[in-house]
Subunit: 146 residues, 2 copies
Amino acid sequence: MGVDVQTEDSAIRALVGRWVEAACAKDLDGVMACYAPEVVAFDAIAALRFEGTEAYRKHWEYCMGFAEGEMIMRIPDMDITVGGDIAFCHYLANCGCTDTAGNERTGWMRGTVCLRRIDGRWLIDHEHYSVPFDPETMKVMTELQP
Amino acid sequence: MGVDVQTEDSAIRALVGRWVEAACAKDLDGVMACYAPEVVAFDAIAALRFEGTEAYRKHWEYCMGFAEGEMIMRIPDMDITVGGDIAFCHYLANCGCTDTAGNERTGWMRGTVCLRRIDGRWLIDHEHYSVPFDPETMKVMTELQP
């Protein structure tokens, strides 16, 4: 059976859209519904790797608690490649939160999302988020602009 | 045509193996031979994104100059998913270099590599390397162990 790239591309964009919406709403169940049970995640903060939804859910809970006000995540553009029942996509995301005074505090992050179509439904099998660092100071470069 | 997952898995492992060998030998041409022309890379240091082999080659040249002595890259284990003519794989890599006294200075990094099979040959279409950071200090956590 051939792959209708356009259809699958749209389905993946919809999934990432639901994920962003859930993250911004601090809807933990909504975020977790986007992951395959055996997800392996490389998140931008705190640990090298999270394996499985139980461990990753705890991390997401911590992240949602960390955001002072509203969570912000904007993905202006996304590159998607589909092949059969797998796909990968990557993008730059403007992420952060509002502080107690209501001011936006955001920076740019890189996101890579690898997906599987399981029983006709796309789910995130692996994801990788990060901010590059300056090897002189070992600090992350939160001031970079695309 | 079906995909012989075992064969493709081996071909991808061989490609990553050549890439590691070239990186450790500071063989710039050898490293660059592993990339698709339109590669988009999110590297661990210095910039948000590199687009195309010309830009990425310059960055690799900078990285190879940055390593004082020999470059070190060890990938104990790798998870590969193949679907038709695309694939993705992820791993933890122990990376660094030897200093002027010959001592190893390494840390753990996360790697995600997304590939395409172009004219029967696997090439890296997208890669993402990073070290997680501590949101309290904004410094990368180079001391983490898998």
